[in-house]
């Protein structure tokens, strides 16, 4: 339909009427609104825009004459029904809880009532811990501080939580289902948050004392072997796959041994090695076999391949390639490995040669 030639006030009026009929299904809307623009356009042409009147009243008149239920009644009925369901559910849960409390010997109900203000304070504390978590770097502590405001937010939120608990915040009907449901959701979130916050804070408090020892120990462990990156993402990756060794070739495609690699700022490109275990081959009967097809005694432990660093006489170097390796019984590097009989070896390259490469005008020391 062309809407180009409709007076703007008509288009606006029809659109307003449409919003008042938004609860009808699309088919009903189309039926009742189709052609309305043309009719109203003619009305405005004849009598002026003042003849349009109030879109809400107009929509109500359309609805009544068309025998469609008034919008607000329908949704109010639905709202009331949903509210009643929530109220029934909450009341039933509360009754079940009260029966449980009554079944316990002693006056548990009085104790719980006495504990309620404690909970109001606690949940305020949890809320501020969550706020701390959401605003920048979270630091677990007993009295969380938010930015430059210090512990002021903690005081305010705890106060607000207590006032809410004491019924001083919500002025409406305390049995309103929306209000009760909101409280239920918030309190549930606070209980879950409490578990996290308490464990974070207690961990922090109990670990504060031996952290000095731990960090010193970690430094000692990492010294000389790798510039530890705290373990995560440390080492070298290709397409997200961890790289344990590098096999370099020169421009002629010949294998190179003893190639030292450095990055763009001159830092060594270290690989971080791990003990490697051969993937076991399985024969038709499900028994482990070696690559020659001989059965492996399953009682013998599988031995790892251990990579050894190069050295410059003072330091172990993991940026010189390929790294030598050997199969040994221990996963630890042996300081005397190169003097032992089965010393670590470079071994075969994955490919004996690779294709030659060249760049125009770049000398590669080719013959």
């Amino acid at each position: 339909m062309s809407t180009l030639d409709i007076a703007p006030e008509v288009a606006e009026f029809v659109s307003a009427v449409r919003t008042h009929l938004a609860d009808l299904d699309p088919e009903e809307q189309r039926e009742i609104l189709d052609g309305l623009e043309a009719d109203l356009d003619e009305l405005v042409t004849e009598q002026g825009a003042a003849a349009l009147g109030d879109p809400a009243a107009y929509a109500a008149e359309l609805r009544q004459a068309a025998g469609l239920e008034p919008a607000q009644d329908q949704s109010a009925v639905r709202r009331r029904a949903a509210g009643a369901v929530v109220t029934d559910l909450l009341d039933a849960s509360r009754a079940r809880f009260d029966r449980l409390v009554d079944a316990v010997p002693g006056d548990l109900g009085a104790v719980l009532a006495w504990l309620r203000p404690v909970w109001w304070v606690l949940r305020g504390w949890v809320a501020v811990q969550a706020l701390d978590e959401l605003t920048g770097v979270y630091q677990a502590r007993l009295f969380p501080e938010i930015g430059d405001l210090g512990t002021l937010p903690l005081l305010l939120v705890v106060l607000a939580s207590v006032l809410l608990g004491a019924g001083k915040v919500w002025r409406g009907n305390p049995r309103h289902p929306g209000y009760r449901l909101s409280l239920l959701v918030l309190n549930t979130a606070a209980v879950i948050g409490l578990v996290y916050a308490v464990s974070a804070v207690t961990d922090e408090v109990s670990h504060r004392y031996d952290r000095g020892y731990e960090s010193g120990f970690a430094q000692g462990v990492n010294a000389g072997t790798e510039n530890a990156n705290d373990g995560r993402q440390a080492g070298l990756y290709r397409d997200g796959i961890w790289v344990s060794n590098i096999y370099p070739y020169d421009a002629q495609g010949r294998p190179l041994v003893g190639v030292q690699l450095f990055d763009q700022v001159g830092e060594p490109i270290n690989v971080i090695t791990q003990p490697e275990y051969e993937e076991l081959l399985i024969d038709d009967n499900g028994n482990p076999i070696d690559e020659n097809g001989n059965l492996i005694d399953p009682s013998q432990p599988q031995l790892p391949r251990i990579f050894y660093p190069w050295t410059n006489g003072a330091t172990q170097l993991f940026n010189v390639f390929p790294l030598p390796s050997r199969i040994q019984s221990s996963e630890e590097l042996s300081p005397t490995a190169f003097t032992e009989e089965e010393r670590p070896r470079i071994g075969a390259f994955p490919q004996p040669v690779v294709p030659r490469v060249s760049l125009p005008g770049i000398s590669t020391g080719a013959r």
Binding site: E37, A38, R63, A65, A66
Partner: protein, 108 residues
């Protein structure tokens, strides 16, 4: 004279009668009703009534594109609508006669 309450009862009948004479679009039907003397009839009431009669199968509708503006939705009467019109016209006539007789019987 406030005829709003009276109108409600006869809107179906008058709309059917007007469309029976000649197919028409919404505002055209409003105009015919007003020209016929029902000057107070609300256009939204007429459009709603048309839509209800259409849903009930008393009217059929078709769209006529316009070169200069939005398309118009025309209504025509169906056999069902004619039956309804005849029935309601008879009802109205007997009802009106009864009311008139009563009114005339009352001493002024």
């Amino acid at each position: 004279m406030d005829t709003t309450q009276l109108l409600k009862g006869v809107l179906d009948l008058t709309v059917l009668a007007v469309v029976d004479g000649e197919d028409g679009y919404g505002y055209d039907i409003v105009r015919r009703l007003r020209d016929g003397g029902l000057s107070d009839v609300g256009d939204a009431s007429v459009y709603g009534t048309l839509r209800r009669l259409y849903s009930a199968g008393a009217l059929t509708s078709y769209v006529v594109p316009s070169e200069s503006g939005p398309h118009r939705k025309y209504y025509g009467i169906t056999p069902t609508g004619r039956e309804q019109l005849k029935r309601q016209r008879d009802d109205w006539n007997s009802f009106a006669t009864t009311v008139t007789t009563i009114l005339e019987g009352v001493p002024a």
